[in-house]
């Protein structure tokens, strides 16, 4: 069963070896890049289907109902049925919409989602582009996701969509900061921005060594991918789904795919940075990776099934007043620990977990979400 462990690298090596027999080196290089994109696309689409099923069945479990269980065994073919339905639906463009932007927005959204997966290491060497700035690339791409939303909100000529887009901007700007700073702790320990090297440096999953960084990143990434409870951008009870109110058919489906693709990508990044990535005993690395990412995804579903939505000013206030100071503290503590023990020994988890708990407790005394003030007109 050894061949299962590094299945993808071996397929790649075999293919490039075969091509090198009759093609010049640069052509092999080019073809390997193009070929590498196809498994990523297939992987993303399949995982999005799995994630959608987890979301719908999981949410149904929380809500004491059944969820989709008609199409195929356990309703597993429901996403395919949905896809067929959505392909046959009419594409409606509002009369006063900006047609080009309206068309472009879903494409941008889904395209950006695919970009996330370029640097996610599914297994050792099973990564499309092992950039030496991998995590920086993730941060940059994550903020690009806002582009599609803003384009959609602007193009639709709908006030709800526009409000949603404006919220997306303020949310993006706010949450970029804690996201970057919470990742910094991990980067400081590993001394590398490359995703592969981060995973390889994880002797102990960083969730134990960087509990505060993990919590901050996990909350902040919720805002980045517009997941409940920080989903003000598409708040359906207020903004009637915000930016994608005016979309139908396949364009809507692209937003939908993008949304769940983002959710899975965020789970994958949490897995990579904090949960030990592909590492695990017995099972092949990519299986471990998917299992861990889906567990994180299930936690996202759990959040969605429980919490009320946070108001937009509370969301931004939470980012600046709560997450940012704590993230800075996290860097400070990590830096001090690194200065004392340059190797960052595993037993620091006995220090860091209580420290994280104490900091969160103390800071929550200083800062609470405010009910808000009435603004006199």
């Amino acid at each position: 069963m050894d061949w299962l462990y590094d299945l993808f690298p071996k397929i790649g090596d075999a293919l490039s070896g075969w091509l090198a027999g009759f093609l010049p080196g640069w052509a092999v290089y080019l073809i390997m890049w193009l070929v590498g994109v196809v498994p990523i696309l297939i992987f993303v689409l399949i995982m999005v289907m799995v994630v959608i099923m987890i979301e719908r069945r999981g949410l149904a479990t929380f809500q004491i109902r059944y969820g989709p269980n008609r199409a195929g065994p356990f309703g597993m073919l429901q996403p395919i049925a949905d896809a067929i339905k959505v392909l046959t639906k009419e594409d409606i463009v509002p009369a006063q919409a900006d047609r080009w932007l309206h068309w472009l927005a879903p494409v941008v959204t889904f395209g950006v989602t695919l970009l996330w997966f370029a640097v996610i290491p599914v297994g050792k060497d099973a990564i499309l582009a092992d950039l030496n700035i991998g995590i920086l690339y993730v941060v940059a791409v994550a903020s690009l996701g806002g582009m599609g939303v803003v384009m959609a909100g602007w193009a639709c000529h709908n006030k709800y969509s526009l409000i949603g887009a404006m919220r997306e901007i303020s949310q993006m700007v706010s949450y970029e900061v804690p996201v970057v700073i919470s990742i910094l702790g991990v980067v400081m320990i590993t001394g590398s921005l490359s995703m592969t090297q981060i995973v390889e440096a994880e002797g102990v999953p960083f969730i134990l060594l960087q509990p505060l960084g993990f919590l901050i990143y996990f909350v902040a990434v919720l805002a980045q991918i517009n997941r409940s409870p920080l989903d003000q951008v598409e708040a359906e009870s207020e903004l009637v789904s915000g930016f994608h109110t005016e979309y139908s058919g396949m364009k809507f489906a692209l937003f939908y795919l993008g949304e769940y693709g983002n959710a899975f990508a965020a789970s994958a990044i949490v897995t990579t940075l904090f949960l030990g990535g592909w590492k695990g005993p017995i099972l092949p690395p990519y299986v471990w990776f998917v299992i861990k990412a889906l567990i994180v995804m299930y936690v996202l579903v759990w959040f969605r099934a429980t919490f009320p939505r946070v108001r937009i000013d509370q969301i931004t206030g939470f980012a600046w007043k709560f997450l940012l100071p704590l993230a800075l503290f996290n860097i400070l503590i990590t830096a001090i620990e690194l200065a004392i023990w340059s190797e960052f020994p595993w037993w620091l988890l006995f220090v860091n977990i209580p420290v994280a708990g104490a900091l969160i407790f103390l800071w929550s005394r200083l800062f609470t979400l405010q009910g808000g003030q009435r603004v006199e007109a």
Partner: protein, 375 residues
């Protein structure tokens, strides 16, 4: 975002959004023409009438018994209490007394209906807040189903029950009614604990509802607001105590009262009222006598010339029917004092100055039913 503190502010303009009549949080077909300055509401103009069916006029063309089915269709989430208020008015007009067993069953059914209505109010309010995409609502609907099954058992209908009659009830409850009712009453406090456990102390819920949408006691009284909304503002006014109708003076229960009148108080008052309803149910079931459930009356009622006002504490507040009889088989005038319609009059007071998200939550806490507002 308000930028009022900045000296050199951008030139901004207000804009108008129609919240409704087709909007996920418009609770039917209510429409608010709201003017926004950014995220903040500066003006609201409630527009209703999309569900107007002319119930008051329709009722003048039907006999007194036929009118009962019209009352079902007003506040379709609490048909039993609507029936009760109407038959009380007709009984007052005719001077009819009601058998003891019927009085008890009326109280039982009215309190069950209060629980149904409050479950929906709480569930949809949390849903407006975006809580778990339906989760609390689904839990509330689970218990509502049990009560609706009981209603189906006695009347054959789940929503438009048409069960109360002038002088009593349509018929006695079947034998299999009491065991599930007793089971439900025994289980319900646990279920209420469950709802509270899920979200009542949740940080986000507190931040979203505490201090938001405050309705002062003075404004509430001046606007003749009634029901849980009035009590949340700290006014102890419940017709079951203030003007006991039927046999409510025989039961031991409390009137839950809020302190501030914010959204959170309106939520907690409704939760507490459900607990009190369970208390009343327990006592009523224990004391339930045997006997007839309907006074013998002619098939076609001809009340003497005169007028009467029958009112009850419905789940949403004081529900009153004002009837004028000219001695014929149909009321000369049939006027409804609909609690939610009057509660809506304070809408600008609690919406203006708050954000869109707050407005949706505050509007949800008013707990309207368009069937009753528009009639």
């Amino acid at each position: 975002m308000a930028m009022s503190s900045q000296p050199a502010r951008l030139k901004t303009d207000t804009f108008v959004i129609n919240l409704g009549p087709q909007h996920p949080s418009s609770h039917g077909v209510f429409r608010i023409r709201a003017t926004f300055d950014g995220e903040i509401i500066v003006d609201v103009e409630p527009i209703f009438g999309y569900l107007h069916r002319g119930v008051e006029k329709l009722a003048e063309g039907r006999t007194y018994t036929q009118d009962i089915s019209l009352t079902d269709r007003m506040d379709y989430t609490s048909a039993m209490t609507n029936n009760l208020a109407y038959v009380l008015a007709v009984e007052k007009l005719m001077g009819v007394s009601v058998p003891e067993r019927a009085e008890y069953l009326r109280v039982i059914l009215a309190e069950l209906n209060r629980i149904v209505s409050h479950l929906m109010a709480v569930g949809f309010w949390l849903n407006d807040m975006g809580a778990g995409g339906f989760t609390p609502l689904m839990y509330c609907l689970r218990e509502r189903e049990k009560i609706l099954d009981l209603f189906e058992m006695v009347s054959g209908q789940r929503l438009t029950v048409n069960y109360m009659r002038v002088g009593g009830l349509l018929r006695d409850v079947p034998d299999e009614f009491l065991p599930p009712l007793k089971r439900f009453v025994a289980e319900m406090p646990g279920f209420i604990d469950e709802y509270e456990q899920l979200l009542s102390e949740n940080e986000i819920l507190l931040a979203r509802s505490k201090g938001v949408g405050i309705l002062s006691a003075e404004t509430a009284i001046n606007g003749s607001v009634v029901g849980p909304m009035l009590r949340a503002s700290g006014v102890n006014w419940d017709l079951r105590k203030a003007d006991p109708y039927s046999i409510y003076d025989r039961f031991d229960f409390e009137i839950p009262v809020g302190t501030v009148g914010d959204n959170y108080d309106r939520y907690t008052v409704r939760i507490a009222e459900m607990r009190q309803s369970v208390r009343i149910l327990e006592q009523a079931i224990a004391q339930l006598p045997t006997g007839a459930v309907r006074t013998k009356l002619p098939n076609i009622l001809r009340p003497p010339v005169g007028e009467a006002y029958g009112h009850i504490e419905g789940p949403r507040g004081e529900l009153g029917f004002y009837l004028v009889s000219d001695g014929s088989i149909a009321p000369y005038r049939f006027r409804v004092r609909a609690p939610t319609f009057i509660n809506l009059t304070v809408l600008p007071d609690i919406l203006i100055g708050w954000k869109i998200a707050d407005a949706v939550v505050t509007f949800g806490s008013v707990d309207i039913c368009m069937g009753e507002v528009d009639r």
